[in-house]
């Protein structure tokens, strides 16, 4: 209250009335205009873990794309003579990548023992058939990501429209569609896969079909719940009173407002799908030999884990990194999109 006003110079002009400002001037918005997405991305950027995950995944995806055309060596080519070679880089001066292994208490240069020509080395070693593990890992990751991509596709093509229709129509349609979802989700995934295996041969095909049957359920549920609340929002009512058709309402109003839910859920369903494939391959009903996937690599590595741990370490590390990165990114996205955490 005790504003010190002695330093204010008052003069005759001080008390001259000033015409009120232009109202337009006052209503000007000075802050930069950010769309919802720009704002969300700004918030995402602040989340170090999510940003790091994002770039990590970007690199992994890039490498996988490269692997479609190029791998250091043919991932399925067998060199029985070069079986079970440990990892080695260049001249073997990097610890852990020396090409030497502990055999019965003695450090042995396995590369020399197998008479591998100088200049040939395997970054992550070879498996029991002498196949280059690095190339196989590249292929495996690519396959896992492909499965993730297909899972996204099912989420978007089946889950999203299913949820929107169910939520928007409401009433009987909704009841029936929800019963169908309940029935599907009450059957364990594994049972579905085994049923698939009875019909098809094991392989990418049956995994994909199994995912197609069950993978989109969570997405459909989330989208339906969100649609139910969006549908009573006044801007949707306003669109209806203006005469907008349901299809256009879905495209113009629902999907943009569902987009954050959809993006976040995809980020969660990709690792789920990857893990699902790995699990199936691991127990031997997934991708058939000789093709590599993260699951088959783990399964093969596990058999010799006690003696040749590197064969399992690297695929295990990679799958863990992918899973964690997707989850961290999804968490980050959720926080970024959720207005409640807005500062």
């Amino acid at each position: 209250m005790a504003d010190n006003t002695s330093d204010i110079k008052l003069n005759a002009d001080s008390f001259k009335p000033v015409a009120a400002n232009n109202v337009d001037e006052q209503e000007k918005i000075s802050a930069p205009s950010l769309t919802f997405f720009q704002d969300a991305i700004r918030r995402l950027r602040k989340n170090k873990a999510a940003v790091f995950s994002f770039w990590l995944l970007a690199i992994i995806i890039l490498i996988s794309i490269v692997s479609i055309w190029w791998t250091p060596s043919d991932p399925n080519a067998q060199h029985v003579a070069y079986a079970n070679l440990p990892p080695k880089i260049a001249n073997g001066s990097i610890p852990g990548f020396t090409g030497k292994a502990n055999v019965g208490g003695n450090i042995v240069d396995k590369y020399a023992a197998a008479k591998v020509p100088k200049g040939t080395y395997y970054v992550l070693g070879t498996d029991y058939l002498g196949r280059d593990l690095f190339s196989r890992l590249m292929k495996g990751v690519a396959l896992s990501l492909l499965i993730g991509l297909l899972a996204t596709l099912f989420d978007l093509v089946i889950g999203v429209p299913y949820g929107i229709i169910s939520g928007w129509k409401g009433g009987k349609t909704d009841t029936i569609m929800q019963r169908i979802i309940e029935i599907i989700s009450s059957i364990p995934n594994l049972v579905v896969v085994i049923l698939m295996l009875l019909l098809f041969t094991p392989g990418l095909g049956s995994i994909v079909v199994a995912m197609g049957i069950t993978g989109w359920i969570t997405m459909a549920r989330l989208v339906r719940a969100e649609t139910l609340t969006l549908k009573t929002q006044e801007y949707i009512l306003a669109a209806r009173t203006l005469g907008e058709s349901p299809l256009r309402i879905a495209l113009k109003h629902l999907i943009p407002n569902l987009s954050s839910t959809i993006i976040i859920q995809t980020m969660f369903s990709i690792p789920t799908a990857i893990f699902f494939e790995a699990f199936l391959s691991f127990i031997g009903i997934g991708i058939p030999a000789p093709n590599a996937s993260l699951g088959t690599l783990l399964s093969d590595g596990q058999k010799t884990f006690r003696f040749l741990p590197y064969q399992m370490w690297y695929p295990a590390a990679v799958i863990s990194i992918i899973m964690i990165a997707f989850n961290l990114l999804a968490d980050g996205l959720r926080d970024a999109f959720d207005p409640k955490t807005q500062e």
């Binding site: 209250m1 001080s14 008390f15 009335p17 400002n21």
Partner: protein
């Protein structure tokens, strides 16, 4: 009168992406024992932030850059979290705006009302439940004994707000802060809640800080009123002084823009424009750009408080002795005439004015 709470020179900024929001700018006020102080002002003027700072409930990005809040000889702003928690819900409690979200839908109401007692006191569970029942009766939940086990959704909106009040007063707090407790309610229920709060104040002798932007409600409940604009208190005084003899052009605008039942003119008075952006608060009087009475000085310097009576102060350059005499809007003049009449008829007291040379004196 005994001061129970005194806020001095409070200044709170919020760090945001766009910069630092100067939400509270040098706010001073005090609360007397047993009175109801209403804080009114536009959305975003800083009412909630002010009272949240008293409760120690500021958001993480808030920064108290100066000031003190004296309560019982201690500065709340300097207390540790543990110490504040002891005060919160015990000596000072708060009622929030939305009765739907302040109750736990999964807990019977009796337990919810008793909870503050169990957290703070060493009271036995049985005793706490007995007190809860008593307080539920007090706030007008009929048949409280049998309804203690009911869940929030089994009550109407008005009853739920009563339960929220019951939780807030179960410890017989010395200060009750109500942040727009009736905004979400109907006029009929609103009137009941206001009557209830007045009645409670008599019974348990708490002091109340009541936040609202409804001037009708203020007229009904307040002893004193503080008007906030853009993070500052711009006028404060007794309820009669603010309603019948307002001095700040913003208070004029607020009172003027409410239609009374006999407003017949073709247009309502509307304060033009929107409040300033608190990222860069203006140098002078923040209200100047919307003020039809603005003077050159308003854009230059922040007006100090000028004294109108012992209890009534307003921060506007119009009160400066050198300022030209201004005629307030017709509706305000009507109010002033009404004031004279009521004072003459002895229905309200003439505010006292005592010359003083203290800090609150005007500028020169």
């Amino acid at each position: 009168m005994e001061k129970i709470l005194e806020v001095k020179d409070l200044q709170i900024d919020f760090d945001t992406f766009a910069g630092s929001v100067k939400a509270i700018r040098n706010v001073d006020f005090h609360l007397n024992k047993g009175e109801t102080l209403a804080i009114v002002g536009e959305s975003g003027s800083g009412k909630s932030v002010t009272v949240r700072s008293i409760m120690g409930l500021l958001a993480n990005n808030a920064q108290v850059t100066s000031g003190s809040i004296d309560f019982k000889g201690r500065d709340i702003l300097k207390l540790s979290n543990r110490e504040i928690e002891k005060i919160r819900g015990n000596d000072i409690s708060m009622i929030f705006q939305d009765p739907m979200t302040s109750l736990d839908p999964t807990m019977p109401i009796g337990k919810q009302v008793a909870e503050p007692l169990l957290i703070h006191g060493s009271m036995s569970k049985k005793k706490a439940m007995a007190r809860a029942e008593e307080v539920l009766e007090l706030v007008g939940i009929t048949n409280a004994k049998n309804r203690m086990k009911d869940y929030p959704h089994q009550f109407s909106g008005g009853q739920r707000q009563r339960i929220v009040i019951a939780i807030a007063i179960v410890n017989y707090p010395e200060i009750l802060i109500a942040d727009e407790p009736t905004t979400a309610l109907d006029v009929t229920i609103q009137a009941q809640i206001i009557d209830l709060m007045k009645e409670l104040q008599n019974k348990i002798e708490t002091s109340i800080i009541f936040i609202t932007h409804d001037l009708g409600v203020v007229a009904g409940i307040a002893d004193r009123v503080a008007v906030m604009y853009a993070g500052k208190i711009i006028e404060y005084g007794s309820v009669d002084e603010i309603f019948y003899n307002p001095q700040h052009p913003y208070t004029w605008g607020l009172l003027n823009s409410m239609p009374t039942l006999d407003t017949d003119s073709d247009r309502l008075y509307a304060i033009p424009g929107t409040p300033p952006n608190l990222l860069n608060p203006p140098k002078g009087d923040a209200f100047a750009p919307r003020n039809p009475y603005a003077m050159a000085i308003d854009y230059e310097a922040m007006p100090p408080f000028f004294k109108i009576s012992d209890t009534h102060y307003a921060a506007t350059w119009l009160l400066h002795p050198d300022a030209p005499k201004t005629e307030p809007p017709v509706a305000i003049k009507k109010r002033q005439a009404e004031f004279q009449r009521l004072v003459a008829e002895g229905k309200i007291n003439q505010p006292e004015y005592e010359e003083e040379g203290g800090v609150k004196d005007d500028a020169e």
